[in-house]
Symmetry: C2
Subunit: 200 residues, 2 copies
């Protein structure tokens, strides 16, 4: 038994491991598959171990949702990077692609983040992470707004559109459409934002 495989009484970074295990459980078994005991099992520790890191299932869920918002934000930013920043409409479309891609890859995590599950939303980890995604959504709307009020309206419009489309897509859950089909359907539906401003 080498030093690297030597089993240690201490895990090292159980907190992160439990969050990762939770993301995996959500992916494999949906919302109801996420329990403290199962997360401990996947992380390879006894079922009593999580108590040292998470006081309750709601705390673990909140931490997982926070991690989810970071992945979510990264997914949007990744798509945004692929297009020219000089075309604001294309940037919005790219962000929406990232939004939809994340949801298709992590449907249960998406449900946890936005669904009816009780979370501790106000506290730092989750509050900060969802704040990052909120900032990204705000930034892509800046070119379409002239003041705080029009910014607020544009953000709400874009966010509602892409969030509604994504949620309805997940709710139908009939043998999942190809990712590209979903995105194509979304983009065909999308109004021409550049004309929105002049309509005011």
């Amino acid at each position: 038994m080498t030093a690297s495989t030597k089993p240690s009484h201490h895990h090292g970074n159980l907190r992160s491991a439990l969050i990762e295990a939770g993301v995996q459980l959500l992916r494999e078994g949906g919302l109801e598959a996420l329990t403290l005991r199962k997360a401990a099992g996947v992380a390879g520790v006894s079922h009593a171990a999580p108590a040292h890191h998470f006081a309750s299932l709601t705390n673990l869920r909140s931490a997982i949702a926070a991690a989810g918002f970071e992945i979510f934000d990264a997914s949007m930013k990744c798509e945004i990077k692929k297009v020219s920043p000089s075309n604001p409409s294309e940037v919005v479309r790219a962000a929406c692609r990232g939004y939809i891609l994340f949801a298709i890859e992590n449907p249960a995590l998406f449900s946890l983040m936005f669904g009816g599950t009780e979370l501790i939303r106000e506290e730092p980890p989750l509050g900060a992470s969802s704040g990052h995604a909120y900032e990204t959504l705000t930034n892509i709307c800046l070119p379409f707004s002239t003041d705080a009020k029009s910014l607020e309206k544009m953000r709400m419009l874009v966010w509602s559109l892409v969030h509604g489309f994504t949620s309805l897509m997940l709710a139908q859950q009939k043998n999942f459409p190809l990712v590209d089909d979903a995105i194509q359907q979304f983009e065909e539906m999308l109004p021409d934002f550049s004309k929105f401003q002049s309509m005011e």
Copy 2:
């Protein structure tokens, strides 16, 4: 003890009573408060009684979701009736008001219908009920479309907008905004649909 209050061994219409009980449980305690045993308790029967009507919790959930879609459709239709049918944009706005009002009054039921919970969606009761709401959403989009494809796009646009707005509103769940505030915010955000058609 009069005849009307005489307790009978038979309930009469336990199936409906369990669905009603379920709606009440969702309203009072959220998604996780809905169990077969609690529904039986609220309906005033022993916890083994539901087995004669629902083979599993998923079946009860599906029946409750079906009932929810009927209430949901009625809520939209109720608001539509209040406005002039000769103004299609106003009809769409009215339907959206019904959509939002339903969700505010029944947040957990809304989550059950559209969230990550597994339901038996294909079978008659739920399939038919959600079909009614789908029809209503289609009908309000008819005046804005010239063919099947533009109808599909308009329906997806309206539906995504109102569904996304509603879901995000519920997800924030910070001391609930006044109903009127939510609807006002939605209507301010809403683009002018009458101009959409000409933009194609």
